[in-house]
Symmetry: C2
Subunit: 257 residues, 2 copies
């Protein structure tokens, strides 16, 4: 069957994550429902990976197998016509039937937004932290994540995951007005992993943890990062990389506060 | 009584505008409720002007008369503790008892966001227009608004308003990615005026109206702009000016899409 690559944007607030579930509203579930209406026949939809409940995406990807006469931009339009307002298909492109949204993904980048003030307009897109945060200390700690490490302290037990070793390419911390932006790029990320990295970095910023603690969590299994899991509201799956693109560029906030 | 100037940010989506009403949820109503809890006594709150139902604000202002021992930053914090999440007091400052939030305001600036694409994250903050818009034509038409004009074609009958003559200082149209940003600065704005200006500019962008039509609406009373009133979701009261500040600076989008 012909294969299409979809790039999808969503506000995760109302959803129990990406993965289709029987008794919960999910992003994949809504996409499948929309595709059923548009194509009225056989199709298959496969995502690049899961996002947790409440997590947003600027550029989630999936591949869609469907026999259709519709041009890709029309597929995009027709799916959007059926989707709820907080999910949008940004692009649809015809790809090789050998392309695989998950297996071919070389890297993912995530953006996290911490707000240093109460924001009436951005609440759904930030984690508001009242305490003063030491950004230099957070930056230093973020560097500890870079490289190939065993992230078992930073993930919940996941029967689908064979290994807890992950190669993190970068983890940058930047100040942008009242926001602190953290972007991390890696081969893949484990269940809850980014939110536990962020939660630990926030404690480093507060001064209750230090760089040594982060090093320790990466060497020995610890329960601490689990207790510090950052809320999903601040987290965005920014991009899924399939080629040798440079994984950098300016870190851009989603909302200007 | 001592007087404090408040700078207030809000998402207008859930509210019937600024002005306190008996049977509707309003921004002023929520602020008064919060102040009642914090001050538990006599106080008076006076806004710089109304915003319509559904319209947002980045920098609405009001003055608050209250006898209190609290420092301005504590007033700010305590009000925020009582306010709903979509209203935030950004700053509180002690001002002269002669300062008046409305009468002393020299100018107001409004920002309007049109989105050229379906946005899953910014829907509450934009007007999504599917048609192709000619920005150059919009820019030319926007220039027509500048100066002292009779805006009666652009306002609903308002018994509180004595004159429909308004001095518009600037009306700029800029392209920012998938957004079109329009900022207008003026001495004051009449009921529905900004949204009717924007609605008319959108028609110029679509090509169904031209610059000559805008000139005509400013010379003779016409019902057309009323029918073209733009939705409140894209509109933000950006700033209220009290001194001889330069009313310019970069136009910054609220959401980056």
């Amino acid at each position: 069957m012909p294969r299409y690559k979809l790039t999808i944007e969503y506000e995760g607030t109302r959803y129990s994550g990406w993965q289709r579930q029987k008794n919960a509203r999910t992003i994949q579930g809504e996409l499948v429902k929309a595709a059923q209406t548009v194509f009225d026949g056989e199709f298959e939809l496969y995502g690049s990976g899961r996002t947790d409940s409440g997590v947003h995406a600027l550029g989630q990807t999936a591949h869609l197998d469907v026999r259709t006469m519709l041009a890709p931009n029309i597929i995009c339009m027709k799916l959007n016509d059926e989707l709820p307002a907080d999910i949008a298909v940004r692009y649809a492109e015809k790809v090789s039937p050998r392309f695989h949204a998950r297996h071919d993904a070389k890297a993912r980048s995530y953006l996290y937004q911490i707000s240093r003030r109460r924001t009436a307009l951005g609440k759904r897109y930030v984690w508001w932290i009242k305490d003063r945060l030491n950004i230099d200390a957070m930056r230093q700690a973020a560097n500890e994540f870079v490289g190939l490490h065993d992230f078992r302290s930073f993930t919940a037990d996941d029967p689908d995951e064979k290994s807890t070793k992950v190669s993190v390419e970068s983890c940058r911390v930047e100040s942008a007005g009242d926001l602190i932006l953290i972007r991390t790029v890696g081969s893949h990320f484990l269940w809850n992993m980014v939110r536990r990295m962020i939660g630990s970095l926030a404690e480093v910023g507060r001064g209750t943890l230090d760089v040594e603690d982060i090093r320790f969590f990466l060497k020995k299994k610890s329960d601490v990062p689990a207790r510090l899991t950052a809320p999903p509201s601040g987290l965005f799956l920014e991009k899924v990389y399939y080629d040798s693109d440079v994984h950098s560029g300016e870190i851009c906030p989603v909302i200007n506060i």
